[in-house]
């Protein structure tokens, strides 16, 4: 408890120090606003779009895409990994194509996704999906392969059905490795979401950045950048909570 309190104080102090340094650069050092807006101006820009409701629209859109991409990418990654470990033949066939897809820089495919899937939600979710899928897939493959053969014996002895075996034994046993992939995927998802919004559409934090940048509204640009940082933190916390709930049995608590 005391340890946690100290950690919080450390964290807050670091933030305050950063904020003071920022203020110092813009106030006493008189950096021009178009280069570095002051904390107050940035805050005002943020409050401005919050009051008009614009902020929630952009934030909501980005968050929605990230969640959709994360959920769909994770489910697909886990599903394919499972099918491939169950059917070795499939693994042999799919190995080549998967390596090509995996090593292809997904970001470079982003313009193609726009051409194929339009300016809307679909192209964005697909980009995020492609970024989340591979780390989760690789983690899940490792997890399913590492399953103790004795666990399979146990399932056989108890006459478990396929679904029971998956839900009760295989999935929970692979969860630590899946989580490693998921954490990498979550960071990628945020990058993908912002990038996709830079390229097309009129919604999302990424769009807000390009708009603010193009119109030299540096305080707004700063506000948008800070928001993505905040979003990253939020996802990190959410995943940590989920990890502590699902993997408490590993004793991973930091």
């Amino acid at each position: 408890m005391v340890k946690r309190l100290i950690a919080w104080i450390d964290y807050s102090l670091a933030l305050v120090a950063l904020l003071v340094a920022w203020w110092f650069a813009t106030g006493p050092m008189a950096m021009p606003t178009y280069l570095l807006p002051s904390p107050l101006r940035t805050w005002n820009a943020l409050a401005g779009i919050a009051v008009t409701g614009e902020l929630w629209l952009h934030l909501g859109f980005t968050l929605q895409n990230i969640i959709l991409g994360l959920v769909l990418g994770s489910v697909a990654g886990i599903a394919l990994a499972y099918v491939m470990t169950r059917f070795q033949k499939l693994a042999v066939w799919l190995d080549g194509p998967l390596v090509i897809l995996q090593t292809a820089p997904k970001i470079a495919l982003a313009p193609l996704f726009v051409v194929w899937f339009g300016f809307g939600v679909l192209s964005k979710v697909i980009l995020i999906f492609s970024l989340v899928f591979f780390p989760v897939f690789i983690g899940a493959c490792a997890g399913f392969r590492a399953l103790d053969p004795k666990m399979k014996d146990l399932a056989k002895l108890l006459g478990l059905g396929n679904l029971q075996r998956f839900r009760q034994i295989e999935l929970p046993a692979a969860m630590p490795e899946i989580f490693v992939g998921l954490k990498i995927g979550a960071v990628q998802a945020l990058v993908g979401a912002v990038l996709a919004e830079w390229m097309s559409g009129k919604l999302g934090l990424g769009y807000l950045m390009t708009y603010a940048g193009a119109t030299y509204k540096t305080p707004l640009l700063f506000a948008a950048v800070l928001l993505t940082t905040f979003l990253g933190q939020l996802m990190h916390v959410a995943l940590s909570i989920l990890e502590n709930r699902l993997l408490y049995w590993k004793g991973v608590k930091k």
Partner: protein
């Protein structure tokens, strides 16, 4: 102990594996009849096919020929199996692990809890119901595994070197507890072990197996009085049997491991 019915009938069962360099005989044709409520110990060096025999009886592996008949009246899970390692689900508590066979057989939670708690008490783990496997010692994990193997009340209990990973003191305690459990439940038990002392101390009959190829060398009747305890280990007959088993294992064909 009434020992009338034939619980396990093994007739000419053998097993060969196909390996890179040809076929390997894991077990030469073996026949034995095991009565209900009997405690059988199987001793032998590594590679004598004793684990293979258990896997064949449990249905985990298919034999290459011969028949195994279990008098368990078509139950879905005729045998309980205790592995060398506990093989507990690390994300489940002691109670949940013991209850696992019942949960997956759609037994009501109320009844499953009652049975599981009884068994946990029987194996001496009362107070550790909500502990996770990583919080338990090796011996406690193996006790949990034994309780789990008994939870859906199989008539036959197969144990594959269940105490080889725990220290000697714990092993002695677990042996005595196993005897107590066997006496109170009347299960038919087949226990594979490396230890001739353990075999002589626990069993009604000891099957001696030899390696390469794995086969049954002989079967000894153990006539030591029941119930057995520390005084059994002072009995000259016990020492004579242990010495005999050792000789059986040393003679050619019975390579020590």
């Amino acid at each position: 102990m009434v020992q009338s019915e034939r619980m396990i009938d093994i007739a000419g069962v053998h097993k060969t594996f196909v390996a890179d360099h040809g076929t390997v005989t894991a077990l030469e044709p073996l026949s034995i009849t095991i009565k209900e409520g009997e405690f059988i110990a199987i001793v032998g060096p590594s590679g004598c096919g004793k684990s293979t025999l258990l896997r064949l009886i449990s249905g985990l592996d298919q034999s290459s020929g011969g028949t195994i008949t279990l008098d368990t009246a078509g139950r879905k899970r005729p045998v309980g199996f205790v592995f060398q390692e506990p093989v507990l689900l690390p994300w489940k508590t002691t109670l949940e692990n013991v209850r696992f066979p019942l949960d997956t057989a759609n037994v009501s939670r109320l009844e499953a809890d009652r049975k599981a708690l009884d068994l946990i008490k029987m194996v001496g783990l009362a107070g550790f119901e909500n502990a996770l496997p990583r919080q338990l010692s090796g011996g406690m994990r193996q006790r949990t595994a034994i309780a789990r193997s008994l939870s859906d009340d199989p008539q036959i209990l197969l144990m594959d070197e269940p105490f080889s990973a725990v220290d000697l003191l714990t092993r002695d305690t677990l042996n005595d507890e196993l005897l107590r459990i066997w006496q109170s439940t009347g299960k038919t038990i087949l226990l594979v072990t490396h230890s001739v002392e353990e075999a002589a101390y626990l069993a009604d009959r000891v099957m001696v197996m030899t390696a390469r190829p794995g086969k049954l060398k002989c079967v000894h009747d153990v006539t030591l009085a029941r119930p057995r305890g520390e005084e059994t280990k002072l009995d000259p007959a016990y020492h004579a049997l242990v010495a005999q088993l050792r000789r059986d294992l040393r003679t050619p064909g019975g390579e020590r491991s």
